[in-house]
């Protein structure tokens, strides 16, 4: 609570970028989506000591090839993806117009890089002495390593936060960015989520799969958004293609996912004073199991009630875990920018995580 009067302000999304299995950048993402191109491909098992089967990887992504050899010696894949995506986002923003001190960074994750964490732990357990470890791994073995490196690499000096929220991380990061802006902690916030493909994640996903482990198709990548607050009645900020109307995050503790997802979406629409007929698109997360099914039911209900089109994302990009909700958001923005019918209408993104998080976001397209 800030004790301020409710602010009459609007949050404009002034830019976004994505590094995804579709390729690098906003254009590649939008194009892949438009074509409905699947990205599942066989893996090089020389490079990846993982279970058999395909995955959706960012094509030709190698941290040192993409970012250069300086400052990247120990950098893990998730950090490389995040640093590179923010670089692309900054390139399309008016960089000189940004004040480093008032530009914040919020990154959604599951637990950072599970690969780096395990590598470090393994080093300590198998080394001659417990402390004879590679210290270069330490910054990347903690979950806020990536957000910190983004700030260092791109010289952002505003608030720097990492949110661990699994599949819903992208939406919770957006909500955190919203609060930073509405409480004047930052003038601009870059926020999004990142997930890496790794040997450790592939095995963990297989051993914890709720459904058929052979049907698992993992994806990876990062999507980042730039938000700023403006007076509610003002014209859209230049380059802005949408505004963030609201985010709801609830917890499903008794297994009735459908009721909780319905409540989250219902509250968002009520708060905005709109009905499903005002929606242009709905993007459910396509999570495996009961939670994903509940989202699909709600999406279907919204579409049936006039709520526009249902946008498939995970079907094309795989299960991107921490990056999944951020990819959904990017998909809604990317598709809306190419469709005049979206103008003035709204879109809903929903997400669930097996830990019980239910999150939904409402956007308004310009």
């Amino acid at each position: 609570m800030t004790g301020r009067a409710p602010s009459r302000r609007r949050l404009d999304i002034v830019g976004w970028s994505a590094t995804s299995p579709f390729g690098t950048g906003r254009a590649a993402f939008s194009q892949g989506l438009r074509e409905g191109r699947g990205t599942s491909a066989p893996l090089d098992h020389e490079q990846w000591q993982v279970p058999a089967g395909p995955a959706c990887l960012v094509p030709d992504f190698d941290v040192r090839k993409v970012l250069g050899k300086k400052g990247t010696r120990s950098m893990n894949r998730v950090t490389g993806l995040a640093v590179s995506t923010v670089g692309d986002l900054l390139a399309e923003l008016d960089r000189p117009g940004l004040t480093p001190e008032t530009t914040g960074m919020v990154l959604g994750t599951t637990g950072g890089s599970v690969q780096s964490t395990l590598d470090f732990t393994r080093g300590s357990l198998t080394g001659e002495l417990p402390y004879l470890v590679d210290p270069g791994l330490i910054p990347y073995g903690v979950m806020n390593g990536a957000a910190g490196q983004i700030a260092i690499w791109h010289q952002l000096k505003g608030p720097n936060a990492t949110l661990a929220a699994g599949r819903s991380a992208g939406l919770l990061a957006l909500n955190y960015a919203r609060r930073l802006l509405l409480t004047d902690r930052a003038e601009m916030v870059l926020c999004g989520a990142a997930e890496e493909y790794s040997t450790a994640r592939a095995w963990l996903a297989r051993h914890t799969a709720e459904s058929d482990p052979d049907a698992l198709l993992l994806g990876e990548g990062c999507a980042m958004f730039a938000l700023t607050a403006v007076a509610a009645e003002s014209d859209p900020v230049a380059q802005a293609t949408a505004s963030l109307v609201g985010v709801k995050a609830l917890t499903s503790s008794e297994g009735d996912w459908e009721a909780v997802v319905r409540r989250a979406v219902g509250q968002l629409l009520d708060d905005a004073g709109i009905t499903p007929a005002d929606l242009w698109a709905v993007s459910p997360s396509a999570a495996a199991g009961a939670a994903g099914k509940a989202e699909a039911v709600i999406a279907q209900d919204l579409v049936a009630a006039g709520g526009g089109v249902r946008l498939p994302v995970a079907e094309l990009l795989g299960e991107a875990h921490a990056a999944s909700a951020a990819f959904q958001l990017a998909a809604v923005l990317g598709r809306a920018e190419a469709d005049e019918r979206a103008a003035g209408r709204f879109s809903v993104v929903t997400s669930t995580d097996e830990a019980g998080t239910v999150a939904a976001a409402l956007l308004r397209h310009y």
Binding site: K70, R73, L132, D134, P135, G136, P139
Partner: protein, 82 residues
């Protein structure tokens, strides 16, 4: 104090170049890690740990003050407990 062999010198140089992300011809025995090669405190700790790990030596953290360039590192390693 034990003398340091040419092989060990090369090994140390390899470690330092790897951590500071330098080619071998970019560094001299006298060039300064922080001032000339953009090292920060994290990199210096990495150098110390990597030397302990690979050369099986023990180096006190207080020795970091002397490990400002390759010559300093050679000196510290030569004096270190093995």
């Amino acid at each position: 104090m034990t003398a340091i062999t040419a092989d060990e010198k090369q090994q140390i140089k390899d470690i330092v170049c790897d951590i500071l992300e330098l080619e071998e011809d970019e560094i001299t025995e006298e060039s300064l890690f922080v001032e000339e090669h953009d090292a920060d405190s994290m990199r210096l700790i990495e150098i110390l740990s990597s030397l302990e790990l690979n050369l099986k030596v023990t180096i006190e953290q207080s020795e970091l003050a002397r490990m400002v360039n390759l010559a300093g590192v050679y000196e510290v390693v030569a004096e270190s407990a093995r």
